[in-house]
Assembly symmetry: C2
Homo-oligomer: 276 residues x 2
Amino acid sequence: MKTVSENRCFGGVQGVYTHASDTTGCDMTFGLFLPEEAERGPVPVIWYLSGLTCTHENAMVKAGAQKWAAEAGVALVFPDTSPRGADVPNDEAYDLGQGAGFYVNATEKPWSTHFRMWDYVTEELPRILFNAFPVAEERQSITGHSMGGHGALTIAMSFPGRFRSVSAFAPISNPSASDWGRKQFTAYLGTDETKWAPHDATLLMKKRGFDGPILIDQGSADNFIDLLKPEALAEAMAARRQGGILRMQKGYDHSYFFVSTFMEDHIGFHAAALYD
Amino acid sequence: MKTVSENRCFGGVQGVYTHASDTTGCDMTFGLFLPEEAERGPVPVIWYLSGLTCTHENAMVKAGAQKWAAEAGVALVFPDTSPRGADVPNDEAYDLGQGAGFYVNATEKPWSTHFRMWDYVTEELPRILFNAFPVAEERQSITGHSMGGHGALTIAMSFPGRFRSVSAFAPISNPSASDWGRKQFTAYLGTDETKWAPHDATLLMKKRGFDGPILIDQGSADNFIDLLKPEALAEAMAARRQGGILRMQKGYDHSYFFVSTFMEDHIGFHAAALYD
C-alpha cells in the first residue's frame, strides 16, 4: 500500500492510499479520514460509498463530512466506485463501466474480470483497513449517495450484524425497475433478473429488512428522482414496519449541496449507533 | 446576467451567475450563497477571494462555508480569480495569466486589456451584487486564501470603512519580497516597484493598517510558507499595534483541508463584526 497524500484536517488526518487489488485486478485508491482520537486507539468507522462518475475524492472534498466525524471521533472511509485503468473495460456512457461499478460482482463479459466491487468493498478493503489502520471492526456503519446509497443499503442488509446503522442520500432504491439499474444489471449480471434481486434495496427490504436504524434523505427537487424511486423503498419500509426515518427535503436536488446540507445529521445518526 | 445554476443548500441557495464584464472585457462567472434570511430582506455579505489556479468554484464546493454562513445569516460571494477565454492572454505557468489575476489592474502588455481584477472585485462586481441581490452594502467583510488572502488584505486596507472585518487563510503576505509576487507584479505592473507597494499587505500594514479586526490563519506545515512570508506581516502587525489575531496552526498545510478546518472560526469572526 502506498500513501498518496496525508493532510491535517479538523485535528485529524485526511489520507489517500493506493494498493494493488486482487479482487479487481488493478490498483485501487481510497480516502480515509482518521480523527485525532485514532492516535490513541481504534475508532469507529463510517463507510461512505459514492455515486456515478465519482472517485474516492468527490465526497472527501465536497461533502463536508470530516468536521462532524472529528467531533464524533469516528473514521470515514471513501472507496472508489469502480476499477480503473487503461486495461480495464469501459463504456462511453457515464453510467456504465469505470465510475459506475454499481457495487456488484460482474459475471458477464467484458466486465467480469475487473468489476467486482461487491467483494472489494465488503471483503478486500475491510481486510486492508482493519489490518493497517486504527479502526474498530466491531463498530461500523455505512452510508452513500445515489449509486452509493444503493450500495450502502444493499450491503447493510446483506451482512446482518456487521453494520450498526445505515443511511443514504438520494439512493437508487429500486434499480430492477429503473433505467438506473436495468441497464447496468443486464450488462454486469446478465438478463436473469433473479440475479439482480440481491442488489435491489427495495426487494431486500421486502425480504429481509435491516436490524438497526435507517436514515434516508431525498431531495424533492432531485432531477433524477424518477430514476431513484424513493416511493418504492418507502412503501417497502412501511409495509415491513422497518424502524427508520425517510425524509423528503423540500427544494433540494441531487448535488453535493444537498449532501453536505444533511451530512451533520447523518454522521450524528451513525455516531449515536456506533457509541450505543 | 445569466443564471448558470441554483442549488438549495443549508436552507438557502447556492447560485452561480455569469455576466459580460466591462472591466475585464470578457464574460465573468461568480458564485453567490444566499441564506434563507435573504428571502425577507438584505443580508450582510462576506467576500471570499480564491487562490492561484482556482475559479469561482473551488471554495464554493470545498471550503464548507455555507453551513456557517447559513447559521450566521450572511451571504458569501465567490468571484473568479482572473479573466477567462480564448481571447484572453495566458501563460503556461500556473501562477501567471488565467487563474492568477493577483487582484491588480495590469498596466503592461499583453495583460493590460483584460487583467483588471482590482477594479472588477472592488467596483464592477459590487455594483452588480448590490443591484441584483438582497445583500447589504453597508455590511461587508472580506476573506480569502493564498493569493486571495493577499487580495482580501490589500483591498480591505485600501478602502477604509468599506469592510467591517478582514481575515485570510495562508495569505501571500509580502509579495514584493517573494517569488509569488515579484514575477507577477513585474509582468502585470512593470519593473517600477513603487507601483507594487499598494498591492503588498505587509507594506500597507506598515503604512495604513486596518480600522477593524483582523484574523489570519497559517498552517505550520504549509508547503508554500517560504513564499507566503507570514513573518513579515506578523512583524508589521505587531510593530503597528494592529488589533488582530494571527494563528500558526500546527501541522496544517496549504490545502482546502486546512481552509475548511478553520472556516467556522472565520465566518463566526466576520459575523460578529457584521452584526456588531
